[in-house]
């Protein structure tokens, strides 16, 4: 589509006013192209508006509660380390209650989408050697005034052809996030942990972090994104992550969403992979009132492979939605996808996994599974594993199941003197464990198991299981 054809938004448009309010707080060094891109993205958003239930991709997820409330973008510098407005006390950031015990990592902390780690904090990791010299890790805001061409084109692409309304909003309102570039042949020894804290500002706010990860040839990196709600009320987090893996690169990406039970979370992960690259993604969603995670992977080089793992836990009135799409564009590409969900209370889970094997992608292999456990009569799951195959010499399979805890297994445990609630907890834990067991970082695995374990599971039983 031609960018010129977009009709400008009405000057009275509240989103435009919000953008002006945001930009008045951004540094004047921001290049003019970026301001133009933001307006284009907003116009794109204006064209389609928020998705409705008639959009096939949003059939089961109603975002009207997000659409109906006024949007207030979180401004930089407002919060614990800035003007001292309502938020988290600095002490809690120092304490780092979100940290995983024993996890050695490079940490960058954000409050409502804006980086609060200083350059001194980052230099500390360089000095210790946790970050190799030629690697760039920086807050996105610091990269924008003199953006590398790849970053610039990525920002422009997301603004001009946003995959959905939320990506358009992110492109319009993002002012900060993380930038990680690992040069050819360099491997990061420790994972990069990006911590996004959601804190109440002056009422509910919306934050739009943007994460850009570029791995050069044969480079290696692990990135953990944690989204943590800190007493935040009805905040909205709308995050976009892009991973570009050059030939032979390897990236492990972990996304842990533990937002406040009353907040909203919409996230997107776009991955493009060159020849022989390997990407593994874990998406753990166990927070927020309503969350939606989109993962789109493009296997653009022969021999590229991707593995997507996911776990979603619903309780209360939570709505948790995962949409994934894997495009096999060239021959000899492989994908694995395994998602599991546990739904309790009146929660609702949505899973939609699409695998597309394009006409030239012969000798591709794709396997997908989605298993769901319903623990309560009020919980609901809507799942759709989808295969679109345009080549014949492929091996593709998918499976989906919905069920409850096996009554025989429960009976067995109870007959061995284990109380019913504990027995249920053990079986649920075992179900979840299949996903957690695949996490290669032990500290993360243990931390998550502890967070996800129910009160009935005693520490001894837990440790016996893991």
């Amino acid at each position: 589509m031609n960018v010129q054809l977009i009709s400008p938004l009405e000057p009275s448009d509240p989103f435009l006013a919000e953008l002006a309010r945001l930009e008045s707080r951004l540094p004047a060094t921001e290049p003019p192209w970026l301001r133009a891109v933001r307006r284009r993205a907003l116009a794109r958003f204006g064209e389609r508006g928020f998705p409705g239930r008639r959009d096939e991709d949003w059939k089961y997820t109603d975002v009207s509660t997000i659409a109906e409330r006024p949007l207030r973008v979180a401004l930089p510098g407002v919060g614990p380390l800035g003007t001292g407005a309502a938020g988290i006390e600095a002490g809690r950031i120092e304490a780092g209650e979100w940290r995983y015990a024993g996890l050695e990592c490079v940490e960058l902390v954000f409050v409502n989408g804006h980086c609060v780690s200083t350059s001194a904090d980052i230099n500390y990791f360089y000095d210790r050697g946790a970050l190799p010299e030629r690697t760039t890790l920086a807050p996105l805001a610091a990269m924008l005034s003199n953006a590398p061409p790849m970053l610039r084109s990525s920002i422009q692409r997301m603004a001009d052809a946003p995959p959905d309304a939320f990506a358009a909003l992110n492109a319009a309102f993002t002012a900060d996030g993380a930038y990680l570039a690992v040069p050819d042949g360099v491997a990061l020894d420790v994972p990069v942990h990006l911590v996004f804290l959601s804190a109440p500002g002056d009422g509910p706010v919306a934050s739009f972090p943007r994460i850009y990860i570029h791995l050069g040839k044969e480079a290696r990196a692990s990135v953990i994104e944690s989204y943590i709600g800190m007493d935040a009320q009805e905040n909205l987090t709308c995050a976009v992550t892009e991973i570009i893996a050059a030939a032979g690169a390897r990236c492990d990406h972990y996304r842990v969403q533990r937002e406040h039970p009353r907040s909203y979370h919409v996230g997107r992960l776009s991955v493009s992979q060159a020849r022989d690259s390997e990407v593994t993604s874990f998406s753990i969603a166990c927070g927020a009132r309503l969350s939606r995670q989109d993962i789109a992977v493009r296997l653009e080089g022969e021999g590229a492979s991707v593995a997507l793992h996911g776990l979603y836990v619903g309780e209360g009135r939570r709505h948790v939605d995962h949409h994934t799409r894997i495009d096999h564009l060239l021959p000899h590409t492989n994908s694995e996808e395994h998602y599991k969900g546990v739904l309790d209370g009146r929660s609702r889970g949505v899973f939609n996994g699409t695998v597309v094997v394009h006409p030239d992608a012969q000798k591709s292999e794709a396997h997908q599974s989605n298993h769901n456990l319903l623990l309560s009569g009020e919980a609901e799951i809507d799942t759709k594993p989808e295969l679109q195959i345009h080549a014949d010499d492929v091996i593709c399979s998918h499976g989906a199941s919905v069920g409850r805890l096996d009554p025989d297994a429960l009976f067995y445990l109870c007959s061995r003197g284990i109380e019913a609630p504990v027995a249920r907890a053990i079986l649920t834990q075992a179900f979840i464990d299949e996903v957690l067991a695949r996490l290669p970082i032990a500290a993360l695995r243990l931390g998550l198991a502890r967070d996800l374990g129910s009160a009935e599971t005693s520490a001894e039983l837990l440790s016996a299981l893991i």
């Binding site: 759709k384 295969l387 195959i389 014949d392 399979s397 499976g399």
Partner: protein, 488 residues
């Protein structure tokens, strides 16, 4: 397996058969009693008047038409076709005088006869299928009469839809549109407005229909036209097996077919509905062919009722159909078995919906898609377990077989579960015939074509075994004939 071994064609005849033009071809002629093309309330009133229908049915049609005007063609299926001009279709034509067809079988294209030979179609039926202009075949009339007697003795009502409207208006009024409402979807609503005829079947309480209605149907098959309406009601404790269509290629002048089939199963009733569809699929360049946009739905209304759909879809340029079951009665059961084959430029978007509403309801879905050439095959299904459907069970398996590098196979299974005691499982695979399988057969001395046949028939076995026996045999042969030359 036996069938495939029996088929011994030389490669030349295989080639020629696959590349043959559709033997009966298409032709149009001007009918004297045809309403001019176009659709309006006037046309609908005219259809209703010509069919001497009661006022309520005319109003019912008009209500459907008015709603249809507000609807849009569905766009979600993975099928592509040029826009259909609904005003260019003639919605009514009187039964044709059969003077235009070939006079005897000797005038029919030998290739078509060859196909009939392979399928083992009885001679009488060949004449009928080829559209031979015979006034009344003595044998078939007498056979039909015998069948009519048997059915009447059992109390089974089986007649054309117009006859049913005349003779059993209460039954028709009670059940028509009760499963597929007039507002259901674009094509069903169009059908509700303009349907011209179809079949009506009522099995009284406790009666096991003495015949496979298929048998009768094949002998008695009248041209039912492009907007066909079928309504089958199985009263408490009854059983009926119904077969629609025929394995032999059928001659048909209408490009758009929008049929509606409604099944109602009351307490303890069982309905088995089998379809073999082999309409003109278009030529090897994708020109022409039937658009088959059908709405089929059954409702298990009573406790322990059972509806089973079996379909073998090899014809039509585009197939768009989702035979569904609404499992309302407690302990009711729905089944769906499907083989869909697409080759050349054929497109099929088919599947089922299993809506579990009652307690202890179960459903099974077995779908086998075969794509060859540039064929496109999509399974689109929905399994919905409602809040009250305690202990519901569903098992779904949908497999795709790809023959050729330019075909495609898609799977879109929707699973919606609102009850924790449900158990739902879905499995799907997509593969091609492996070289190992072929090699194994070849080194045992089985010819390539036969080996492919063997493997494909094995792939479809779970579905074929659900067909009434004689049709299972025919369906197997049909698949073999359809696949000739697909591997190369």
């Amino acid at each position: 397996m036996v069938q495939s071994v029996q088929m011994k064609e030389t490669p030349q005849s295989v080639e020629s058969l696959v590349n043959r033009d559709y033997a009966a071809g298409f032709f149009t002629e001007i009918e004297t009693d045809t309403v001019p093309p176009g659709l309006s309330e006037e046309v609908i009133r005219l259809i209703s008047r010509k069919k001497e229908e009661p006022e309520w049915l005319c109003e019912w049609r008009l209500a459907a038409y008015r709603h249809w005007l507000t609807m849009q063609e569905p766009r979600w299926a993975t099928v592509e076709h040029p826009a259909i001009d609904y005003q260019a279709i003639s919605y009514y034509s009187a039964p044709k005088a059969k003077t235009d067809g070939p006079k005897s079988l000797s005038e029919v294209d030998p290739k078509l006869l060859e196909t009939y030979e392979k399928l083992g179609i009885p001679l009488r039926e060949r004449e009928m299928l080829a559209g031979v202009a015979v006034d009344a075949v003595f044998d078939s009339v007498s056979v039909a009469t015998t069948f009519k007697g048997t059915l009447a003795k059992a109390g089974v009502i089986f007649c054309s839809f117009s006859e049913a409207v005349r003779h059993h208006p209460d039954l028709v009024r009670q059940y028509l549109g009760s499963v597929v409402p007039v507002t259901d979807n674009f094509y069903a609503t169009l059908n509700s407005a303009v349907f011209t005829d179809g079949s009506f079947c009522y099995i009284p309480k406790g009666v096991r229909c003495p015949l496979e209605l298929s048998t009768y149907f094949r002998i008695n098959a009248a041209k039912t036209g492009q907007f066909e309406r079928t309504l089958i009601v199985a009263d408490a404790g009854s059983y009926v097996s119904y077969l629609e269509g025929c394995t032999a290629p059928m001659r048909d002048e209408n490009q758009l077919h929008a049929a509606v089939v409604e099944l109602v199963a009351l307490e303890d009733a069982r309905i088995k509905y089998s379809t073999v569809q082999n309409w003109y699929p278009g030529d090897e360049n994708g020109k022409g062919g039937i658009y088959n946009f059908v709405t089929k739905r059954g409702e298990c209304r009573g406790a322990r009722s059972w509806i089973s759909w079996t379909q073998v879809e090899t014809g039509s340029a585009i197939t768009w159909k989702y035979p569904s079951c609404i499992l309302k009665g407690d302990c009711s059961r729905g089944e769906f078995y499907s083989v869909a084959l697409t080759r050349h430029y054929q497109q099929a978007d088919t599947g089922t919906k299993m809506i579990h509403l009652g307690r202890d309801t179960t459903s099974t879905i077995i779908s086998k898609g075969i794509s060859a050439g540039r064929g496109r095959n999509a399974y689109r299904g929905l399994v919905r377990i409602g809040k009250g459907a305690a202990n519901a069970r569903n098992y779904t398996q949908c497999d795709s077989l790809l023959l050729g590098s330019r075909c495609s196979a898609h799977t879109f299974p929707y699973i919606e579960v609102k009850n924790a005691s449900a158990e739902v499982g879905h499995e799907a695979t997509t593969t091609r015939i492996s070289d190992d399988q072929l090699f194994y057969c070849r080194q045992r001395g089985i010819a390539m074509e036969d080996a492919v046949n063997l493997i494909v028939n094995g792939f479809c076995k779970a579905v074929f075994k659900e067909l009434p026996m004689e049709f299972a045999v025919e369906a197997q042969r049909l698949l073999g004939v359809s696949l000739e030359g697909a591997i190369g």
